[in-house]
Point group: C2
Chain length 198, copies 2
């Protein structure tokens, strides 16, 4: 079965767009998607940025907000960016890794909807707990795992892998042969590539 890795960062607005549709697009094409949360922060720091490029370059930031507003409007998604932007996504990424893999897509979509659909603070542990419970997941157990040395190490390792693969932004899709597709705009192309279409 064709496989594609979906690399996403919870603080990323374009990852929100991709997360809300990539599972169904991949499934409709018969491709299997692996959801791989990672942190862009260390990758940005390595290239000399101390915050999101949308803050460093205000014209680009203003455009991004408008672009998201238009695309969310077309897709029937609400868009209410949180304050501050970007959110601290460390805890959400650890929790996503602690959630059983088959429930990770659902949990991740719930985080994105709370963050960018409702403008809520995803660094808030009680919000994440609420989302876990709503999905019928054992919140206490998952938080314990999320804060373990094993999951902390796993997130560092995933982030290092992303950097080694050559990722520089999110969302990114990576096929089994290492082919990279950056951005929600490239989802269809990535799925076709994973299926061997050239």
């Amino acid at each position: 079965m064709a496989q594609l890795d979906f690399w996403y960062e919870f603080a990323s607005t374009y990852s929100y767009l991709a997360a809300m549709r990539c599972q169904s697009v991949a499934e409709a094409s018969g491709a299997r998607l692996r959801w791989r949360p990672f942190l862009l922060g260390p990758i940005f720091v390595a290239q000399g940025w101390n915050t999101s490029p949308f803050n460093l370059y205000p014209a680009k930031g203003r455009y991004m907000l408008r672009d998201l507003e238009r695309i969310c409007g077309q897709r029937g998604l609400t868009f209410r960016p949180p304050e501050p932007f970007p959110q601290n996504s460390l805890l959400a990424a650890r929790v996503a890794l602690a959630v059983p893999e088959d429930r990770r897509p659902e949990f991740s979509r719930a985080v994105y909807l709370a963050e960018f659909g409702e403008g809520r603070n995803i660094a808030d542990e009680s919000l994440l707990g609420e989302l876990l419970l709503r999905l019928g997941l054992p919140a206490a157990e998952i938080f314990e795992k999320a804060k373990s040395d094993a999951v902390r190490a796993m997130l560092r390792e995933e982030t290092a892998t992303a950097q080694r693969l050559g990722l520089f932004g999110a969302p990114s899709f990576v096929a089994g042969d290492g082919e990279i597709f950056w951005g929600d705009d490239r989802l269809e192309q990535a799925v076709a590539w994973a299926k061997g279409e050239r």
Copy 2:
């Protein structure tokens, strides 16, 4: 008639993609396109960059080359990036402004094909002269106009206008109401917007 401004930079790879198709996409939808060459250099300098972001951020640069290769392949376009990258696009932009407006799209496509399809140096006056003559345009007269104070001032003015509009990259499409669409990926959305579709 719906009108859309196409802002392009001759040194920009994604402007090549857009330039090769935007006229036919716009015409098929009944929108009128104004071709407006400008320089990204001053805009980049204002945000602290001294070269293309594809050089400043090598992972992004490598990805861009691969992305262009794939998309050109799908569209039946050759892709052979010139050395050095980015090219000095000052003379090409001045010449494009000196060419009669109704021939500007043709001339601009010829420049892009030479630059990114054949890897030729567009800072070379003899190449630009060759392209003008091939299109049956009066090269000597156009060069004289291109180097005049009026055209130099016009290019500075266009670049300042681009910056004032909030442009930060190329290609960009700007509708009559100031709505901005950045990138070849947004062409269809820009045309729809210009036609009043929401």
